[in-house]
Amino acid sequence: MRAEEELIGDLLVARGVLDLAALDEARALAERWKVPLADALMARRALRPLDYYRTLAQHFDLELADLRSDPPDPTLLDPALAQEYVREGVIPWRRDERGIITVAVTSPGPAAVLAARRLTGQRQLRLAVCTRFDVSIAVQRAFRSELVRKAVYGLAETDPDMSARRVVTDPQLLFFYLLLTLLAAGLAFAPLTTLIGLNLLMSVFYLGNFVFKGVLAWAGGLAGEGSARALETAARLLREDELPTFTVLVPMFREPEVLPILAHALRNLDYPLGKLDIKIVLEEKDEETIAAARALGLEGVFEIMIVPASQPQTKPKACNYALQFARGDYLVIYDAEDKPEPDQLRKVVAAFRAAPPNTACIQCRLNYYNARENWLTRMFTLDYSLWFDLMLPGLERLGVPIPLGGTSNHFRTEVLRELSAWDPFNVTEDADLGIRLTQKGYRVGVIDSTTFEEANCRQGNWIRQRSRWIKGYMQTFLVHTRRPIHLLRTVGPLGMLGFVFFIGGTMLSGILNPIFWTIFGFWALTQTGVFDPVFPPLILWLSVMNLLLGNALFIYLTMVAPFRRRWLELAPWALTVPYYWVLLSIAAYKALWQLIRKPFYWEKTQHGLSKQMAEELAKAGVAARP
């Protein structure tokens, strides 16, 4: 620890701001974590940040700058240096009558002076002390429109071909038009041949879908337990002082009640709190959640960021905004109701260090803590178990681009900034980013660490959520098929196949299922022969195989999905999965409609509906809301 920090610590105790025990603890933590004393003190809520910085100012006999009431002179600020101001903790404040610039710093010292001179271009400067949050807020206020613009249009301006800002491009429109023209001509002049051709296409697609997902699950099942144990050991061996700063983004909207759960979970992480850069990202108009977050009195490592109101109002835009203030080498997004396993961040760091250098993201598994609440939560759990425990490892094993899943995606921050992070116009920004990472030459790794969250327990809410996911998949599919040759070159044939069947298959099967099930049901009830011409023998047998073997395969996979977690009691519920598919089809049609009418609309999923929520809130030390 620096001698100055020692003195500051003694000063804090002398002034009665901090007791000696707390100081000793903070000093020990700072030593262990190899972080400044201030960070250790903020992590322990030992004192208010303002008290610390006031003492700091007194120690250095500098003015304490209140940048909220006395904001910096905008003429002194350069938008291009906004991130540096935040990163260095240095911001030009005001100029006196002699033209000397006073620079507000968070940590006075030689480094701050050098940074101040570099950022202002002046040699003669005066220093003042301010809080770290004040620097962040000052930058946000001064460069509000620039920051918002970058958050919204960053990707669209730097890489327009990868942005869903345009739902379909002109060539795509033309392609659709030509396809429809071909279809119309076929129906007009050779209707039966055309219908047979369509039927054959869809049947082959179904077959490919079944085969591909079966192969995925098989490949995923081959992933051994050995690698998981090795990672766990490597994570445990990491010393706290060698752990890097980790930025945690928690975007929220109208869900004040569940924040305590995440806060509790983050506090329980086996990771130095002082090395966490936690940003609670809230929308400017969400006053209720803002008030609730402030009322929680969170530690100094929690920063509440207010995203200015702008369109589209989506989670990826909020994350893009917050990314501009991220200080960590790695970054992760958690939802407010998430409960990551305590050693997750350590495992991620260990995984990054063991992974090839082009690994830009580590995806952890997701599952639910209210799995047994009702039928829907059980099905949701089976769904996620199949996806994360079997298919995701299969995708990794086969080298197929991985569409990232919602939360617990851990990134290298620099790569995120390089790729302009998330697409705010895509409602499944995570899936899109996963494909984009692969196209840019990066890879996504998967590790065996689970984040538990709340499964949707109401069908209406579930349909809204799933329709957003499917709409996002549609957007992702449209974006990444704009340049099919480029996609093929960047992800390879297997990757292309995987992309088509995974992204395309998920959305298309939801749309096609009702058509085929209706045909089958009508035939079974009436024994009509009206469909016979469209099902010549080859297609009939293919369709029967899809109906029987394909669906049986999916039911079987759903049944074995929870085996890895030893949740055998969930397996029999897999037999009811056909109704789950009905809900999925409803969501698919809703998604298609929204893609046409409101492509960027974010269908908000309501959280906190679960009966288990009260239990989780109680664990988090807050009484549940009735």
Partner: protein, 652 residues
């Protein structure tokens, strides 16, 4: 001495002549005052429509002419007409035997010749046959010294022409039994009824009689007594059956069958209270029972010999199961109709018991089974005889008339013409069965109704029944109903039929709501899958339309609609499908309206929305495509304007 010898010879010759003359006394000669009718029984009467052919040398055929024993034949002659063909020079001859007695032997010329011979027959010839005159036709000859070669040479044949016949002169007042009359009745038979509307039992009797006679190979027509005239015929070329319902006192609920005289020839009369019962006696197997000139019938129902719940013995179906000597090949053909099946059944499999001796080298024969000329199974037969071969009959193969053919083949030993091929016996045993399975509840093809009529059929009509209206009914009865099955005629006004029916009405039968083809919607047009017209008929429809229908209670039937007095073919074999259009030549088109996707029925004068759509499909789709194109153009224009706001359009 020599003189005495000559006298003795003369006496002997006279005596011999007397004896021979006495022995060869012809049938009773017609005196100049006695009326005589001439009956010519030709090969077509026996089923040989085109005569018959003796192929090769050393061939023999037997033909049986019916000559009932109670028939008083005055004179009989066998008239033989034949044509020979030969390619090679050789020695060949034709022999004719009558009931085993040679009556003709003559050499045949090389190259070919035409033969016409009239052979007188005597009483002894007729009496020996026990009701039949067996005429054996035999060809023989030699071309080379190699008998094997001779047997295999082609190009040798003797065609016995259809003009070959047996002439019988009978007294005009002859009164044989009904059974005998039926045996010798000419091919052309007219069923006569009284003029005007017929009572149901009269119509049923006329139909049953016509049906039984048609099943026996007669050409039947219907007429009235007045129209027939009754002019006496000396050449008995037409037979008559007279039908009338009369109150004959104590015979009110019975039918009477008797031989009468009409138009100068013996005729059959069916009368009393229930002439339809009497008519049933004309059907096999009851026909031989009518062994008297008159018979009263209280009941007669058809029976199916050889039938068990599991199947029907092949021996009771139409075919010859006799043993054959097969050097290379033997074949048996058994025919059966759907009307031979018990109600509610369908052919499921064949259980064939085959006996075929292995050849001298111990090699086994091979049996192949054909069903309606489709190979459905083959097996190598075992060394032990008999061999049971069970062959399933694929669904969809059986129809109205079916044919089972068994072919047993073996590799012939010999053939080098040093040794004759050895023919070894083979036989399809009488224990062979046609196994049956349950048929589905609702018939989807015409032929599936035939078994349901095995025990009787209800015929619905909506007009008074006359002799003229009986022909269409017979056309269907003879193909779908077993002779002798009870017929019940019922007016359509009596309501829905309680049993499977045949309806001959202008409107749909009572209780039937939906029919595949309608006649109340103007013109009828058949189109193919692409909508191209195949057949268009005027508002009246085709001359004859048959449709498979069901009443609301699920009773199936065939509805036959006839346009006016359109001509009807003699037989109407409705097999597959549920709609058939026919004319005087037969069935023009038959299809399954529900199942067949190749043909569709439309009504151009009253098209339904779906038909209109199909008709104008290219235009409708073209219009939609134009609208779609306009939408896409609008989208492109809007996007272009958004990108170029200064270029004449406002930004979106």
């Amino acid at each position: 001495m020599l003189r005495c010898f000559r006298l003795a010879l003369l006496a002997l010759g006279v005596w011999l002549s007397a004896v021979a003359g006495a022995a060869a006394q012809p049938p009773a000669q017609a005196s100049g005052t006695e009326q005589v009718i001439l009956r010519r029984i030709g090969l077509p009467d026996l089923g040989f429509q085109d005569g018959l052919v003796l192929e090769g040398l050393g061939t023999s055929r037997d033909v049986f002419f019916p000559v009932p024993r109670d028939l008083p034949v005055l004179e009989a002659r066998l008239v033989l007409r034949a044509e020979t063909t030969s390619l090679f020079t050789g020695r060949r001859g034709l022999s004719v035997l009558v009931n085993g007695r040679p009556v003709l032997t003559r050499p045949l010329r090389d190259g070919g010749e035409r033969i016409e011979v009239s052979i007188p027959l005597d009483e002894a010839d007729l009496a020996r046959g026990n009701g039949f005159l067996r005429v054996t036709l035999r060809s023989s000859g030699a071309l080379t010294d190699n008998r094997c070669l001779d047997l295999r040479l082609a190009g040798e044949q003797i065609a016995i022409l259809e003009g070959t016949h047996l002439e019988l002169r009978l007294p005009a007042d002859a009164q044989p039994s009904a059974a005998s009359l039926l045996q010798i009745m000419p091919r052309e038979v007219v069923v006569l009824t009284r003029p005007g509307p017929l009572q149901p039992v009269e119509a049923a009797a006329a139909l049953a009689a016509g049906h039984a006679l048609a099943a026996a190979g007669r050409r039947v027509s219907f007429s009235t007594l007045a129209a027939a005239g009754g002019a006496e015929q000396r050449d008995w070329e037409r037979g008559f059956v007279l039908v009338s319902q009369r109150d004959d006192g104590a015979l009110g609920e019975a039918g009477r069958l008797q031989v009468v005289r009409f138009a100068g020839v013996p005729a059959l009369a069916l009368d009393a209270g229930r002439p339809d019962l009497a008519a049933r006696l004309l059907a096999e197997p009851w026909r031989p029972v009518a062994a008297q000139p008159a018979q009263t019938v209280n009941e007669a129902r058809p029976r199916m010999p050889g039938e068990t719940p599991r199947g029907i013995a092949l021996a009771s179906l139409r075919g010859d199961l006799a043993a054959q000597d097969a050097a290379e090949r033997a074949s048996w053909t058994i025919e059966f109709s759907a009307r031979d099946l018990p109600p509610g059944t369908r052919p499921a499999s064949l259980a064939l018991d085959i006996a075929a001796a292995p050849d001298t080298a111990g090699e086994r024969a091979v049996a192949a089974v054909f069903f309606n000329e489709v190979l459905i199974g083959s097996q190598q037969l075992g060394l032990q005889v008999p061999h049971r071969m069970v062959v399933p009959i694929p669904e969809g193969l059986a129809g109205l008339d079916n044919r089972v053919r068994l072919v047993v083949t073996r590799r012939a030993r010999g053939g080098d013409c040093e040794t004759l091929p050895v023919a070894l016996p083979a036989q399809l045993l009488p224990s062979s069965m046609l196994r049956l399975a349950s048929a589905s509840g609702t018939p989807s093809d015409f032929f599936e109704l035939a078994p349901r009529w095995r025990d009787g059929v209800t015929i619905l009509t909506d007009a008074p029944i006359t002799a003229e209206s009986l022909s269409p009914m017979l056309a269907l009865l003879r193909t779908h109903v077993r002779p002798g099955s009870p017929l019940q005629l019922r007016p359509a006004s009596a309501g829905p039929s309680p049993a499977p029916f045949l309806a001959f009405t202008a409107d749909p039968p009572p209780g039937v709501r939906a029919t595949p083809v309608r006649f109340d919607r103007g013109r009828l047009r058949l189109v193919d899958r692409e909508g191209r017209p195949l057949l268009e008929l005027s508002a009246g429809g085709p001359s004859l339309t048959a449709q498979l229908v069901s009443t609301e209670n699920g009773i199936p039937g065939i509805w036959v609609r006839r346009a006016g007095a359109a001509a009807v073919p003699p037989a109407l074999a409705l097999d597959r499908g549920d709609v058939a259009f026919a004319d005087a030549a037969g069935i023009a088109l038959a299809f399954a309206a529900g199942r067949d996707q190749l043909v569709r029925v439309t009504y151009p004068d009253q098209p339904d929305p779906w038909t209109l759509f199909l008709l104008y499909r290219p235009w409708i789709i073209g219009g939609l495509w134009l609208a779609l194109t306009a939408v896409f153009i609008g989208i492109f224009v809007r996007r272009w304007r958004r990108r170029n706001p200064g270029a004449g359009g406002s930004a979106a």
